[in-house]
Amino acid sequence: MMDVVTEAKAVRVPSRRMWRCWACAEEVAATGEGTCPRCGKIQPLGAETDYFTALGLPRRMAIDRADLERRWHALSRRFHPDFYRTGEPRERIVALENTALLNRAYRALRDPIARAEYLVRLEEGAGTEIPSQPPQELFEEILEIQELLMDYRAAAPDERDARRPQLEARRQEIRREYERVERYLTQDLFPRWDPLSPEAAPSPTEKAVLLAEIKEAIGNRAYLRRVLNGLEEALSASGVD
């Protein structure tokens, strides 16, 4: 399990959305500008801050890449440790940990699939497993491919050529399936997520059903990727020897 890293411990004040500034003890809004309004010192984003909040975005699947990058750049200019080299030790830790969080956040959110996985875990808990599994309807097919691959690897190099076209055909087939699953994820499932925002008061089952579908598709895609890698590896290795 991977998670956000931020160890800077801001002192929490009783109201949940407020922190105390580590330098001057002023109350600071947890999701504020990241700097203390009184003394101007940078504040820890906090270990519980999710990637969307860290980058000032709503929890949506749809993200404008250019906007995401602009936000990341602007926040890097504010928090990067290079600008606090001569600062006090505490400030330097805040800079380091905030920047580490922002970098992880940017990496996870810029890729739609990683973003979806992250959203699922935000909704269902950080430990949520997304098992990699074959699409039901391709189960038989994939078993056949595994056998073909085994035979192919066991075959003498000069026999392999005869088997190549068969493998090649399977490779193309799996690639089409892979692309189909990815399209289904990004074009059918993802757009259905954003309208389910809390303001729209979606029914819990509606949300759960969609999440289950998303998880399944992500798992299918990961599985197909592995099969595809296996096929590609076998085919390219034979080209060499």
């Binding site: 991977m2 750049h73 200019r77 990067h80 080299r85 580490a100 990496r107």
Partner: protein
């Protein structure tokens, strides 16, 4: 503080200490600084800009660094260390392949951190590098006339954690606080990007003496974002020399029945001749190699560029695969790269230029001197850290994935390669046996599936886990890679919220205690170092006072005319200043200090008058301005 310093000076004195940029190269090292908004290389007293990374340890315990050590390399082959960068952060097994090329000995006893053995004394690679760094530090102090204690040092982008750590240790041993470790290709890009509103995607191809790096960056409004990096820490121009030398030795063996392998001085001579031939062939179509063999016969040969290119081709070819991998990681095609920058002396080889141009399908840049551009970039980064350079920010990546060994010797990746740094990850572990109170964790760096094929960084033992049934404790381990690409690890048991103790055993590094000892040893000459520093400080102060005096002394005439000051007083000041000018170059700081005190004593009243005068002027100025406004 001398009184003359009072009126106007101060701006110089109170600014932040200067941070220099250092390129600690396999074959050559340089130091640079920001002169206003321009990075400049600092030459030595003789005007030389490159310091050969060569250290000779003499029998009497003294040492020579740089050009002098390099010139006498063949005489002192066994006691002269070059290419020490190839040994940084490495174990004996890692350097097995190239050991036979090195004329100096490596100790058989030290497996984890190699030690160079000379006259029965052992030197770790960071200690040798520290000798080079100290020389650069002195060079900078002499040129800038101020003590230098802070530096940015560059490393190949593809250096792993142990190699970076070793570089930082070298800095510490040399008395430098290493504020930042920067990747060489990235530094080069900073130097290119400064003062140019460059936008777009840039590939930096860096082939030095001993290392190859390729980095791909996106430049946007002063942000230099590295998107992918790749390379080979054991590939460079030196390898071309070796291949050529090998070929020459083969020919000698064929003709003479021996290649004099037992004569390290001769082997060195052949290697040097090969390098000279290589460099000649950069501009000429053919080069001649003359050698006098130890048995008195002569070896002579004309080498055509074509022949050399055939020998060098495999080395150049080896650089192309990392380029393709970096492009793939960045998700870019060669056509999408807007500019290609060449860095490193070996990129002067015409074959290298041709191959790079073919791969990226565009003519590479080489306007900046490829030997110097990395040091210039390090100075720019130093300027960013000290606040002297504004608006620029470098976002670099970790070159290798970070992982943990799992059951069965596999690796679980926790931070993928090419992640922007600083970055981190949090990982949870549990126990396998009831009542288990410690867990071993093995941290690795690399891209391979099995632990044994990756670089071992460290082994940790988490201790102090409260005894619980197996699987119940949750030990949360936090990995943090800082902006230098250096890793730190912390751990805690979540259920009982006890901090687990971590015992770090770096697999290939010096322990803190060892570094401390080396710092002490390196200051066997500490007294001398302190003397040098005091002298430099005193000289700097003397220079400031003299410069200041030149500015304000003309006022004395005015004061005398107004009857506020006696002619004798001015005479005394002029004499004291003259004395100061004379002792400025003195070896002894105390002499300079004494003269400075003298200047202060005789000029105190004058300085007060100058101050009053300045205040009057200021008030007068203000009134005038107010008058103007009304």
């Amino acid at each position: 503080m001398p009184a003359l310093d009072l009126p106007i000076a101060g701006a110089h004195r109170h600014k932040q200490p200067r941070v220099v940029g250092i390129d600690l190269g396999t074959t050559n090292s340089l130091v640079a600084y920001m002169d206003g908004d321009t990075p400049r290389v600092i030459p030595d007293e003789d005007g030389r800009r490159l310091l050969p990374s060569v250290v000779c340890f003499h029998a009497d315990g003294s040492l020579t660094v740089g050009e002098a050590a390099k010139r006498r390399l063949t005489e002192n082959a066994a006691r002269t260390v070059y290419s020490v960068k190839r040994l940084m952060g490495r174990g004996l097994a890692d350097v097995e392949a190239e050991r036979c090329f090195l004329p100096y000995r490596l100790s058989e006893q030290h497996l984890d951190v190699v030690r160079i053995e000379i006259d029965g004394r052992l030197y770790s690679p960071p200690e040798v590098s520290a000798c080079i760094l100290k020389d650069l530090k002195r060079r900078a102090e002499a040129h800038l006339r101020e003590p230098i204690t802070q530096a940015v040092i560059t490393v190949p982008a593809y250096f792993n954690d142990s190699q970076r750590q070793a570089t930082r240790d070298a800095g510490r041993i040399a008395g430098l606080d290493v504020l930042r470790i920067v990747n060489e290709p990235t530094a080069a890009c900073l130097a290119y990007g400064l003062h140019r509103a460059r936008e777009g995607t840039v590939a930096v191809y860096d082939l030095g003496g001993g290392t190859f790096d390729i980095s791909i960056l996106k430049l946007q409004e002063g942000i230099f974002e590295v998107v992918a990096t790749n390379g080979d820490t054991h590939l460079g121009g030196d390898d071309m020399d070796r291949r050529l030398a090998g070929c020459v030795l083969n020919e000698i063996r064929a003709a003479e029945g021996t290649d004099f392998a037992d004569n390290p001085a001769f082997t060195e001579e052949v290697r040097i001749a090969a390098e000279i031939a290589k460099i000649t062939l950069t501009d000429a179509e053919e080069a001649e190699i003359h050698l006098e063999l130890p048995n008195g016969s002569l070896y002579y040969r004309t080498l055509l560029r074509e022949e050399f290119e055939e020998l060098a081709a495999p080395i150049v070819a080896q650089t192309l695969e990392p380029c393709r991998r970096a492009l793939a990681d960045a998700g870019l095609t060669p056509e999408e790269i807007n500019e290609v920058i060449l860095v490193g002396g070996a990129t002067r080889v015409p074959l290298v230029r041709r191959r790079v141009e073919e791969l990226f399908r565009k003519r590479p840049h080489s306007e900046l001197n490829p030997d110097e551009v990395v040091a210039l970039g390090a100075a720019v980064q130093a300027g960013i850290l000290s606040g002297q350079v504004q608006g620029m920010l470098l976002l670099d990546v970790n070159p290798l994935s970070l992982g943990i060994e799992t059951v069965g010797g596999a690796v679980e990746k926790i931070i993928p390669r090419n992640s922007t740094i600083p970055t981190g990850a949090r990982q949870r572990f549990t126990t396998a046996v009831d009542g288990q109170i410690s867990v071993d964790i093995h941290v690795l760096q690399g891209e391979r599936e099995l632990a044994k094929d990756n670089r071992s960084l460290a082994r940790f033992q988490l201790r102090g886990i409260p005894p619980m049934p197996a699987g119940l404790p949750i030990i949360e381990v936090t990995f943090l890679i800082d902006e230098n690409g250096l890793l730190t690890v912390t751990a805690r048991e979540v259920r009982t919220s006890t901090e687990a103790h971590i015992e770090v055993k770096p697999s290939y590094g010096l322990t803190d205690a060892e570094v401390e000892r080396m710092i002490l040893e390196s200051f066997e000459h500490a007294e001398e170092d302190v003397r040098v520093r005091q002298r430099v400080e005193a000289q700097t102060e003397a220079d400031q006072v003299l410069a200041q005096a030149e500015k304000v002394l003309p006022l004395a005439a005015e004061f005398i005319a107004q009857g506020e000051m006696m002619e004798e007083e001015r005479e005394r000041i002029v004499q004291a200043l003259e004395a100061l000018r004379n002792v400025r170059q003195a070896e002894d700081a105390a002499v300079i200090r004494a003269t400075l005190d003298e200047v202060e004593a005789v000029s105190r009243r004058f300085a007060e008058r100058v101050l009053n005068h300045a205040v009057r002027e200021a008030i007068a100025g203000k009134t005038l301005m107010e008058a103007a406004r009304e």
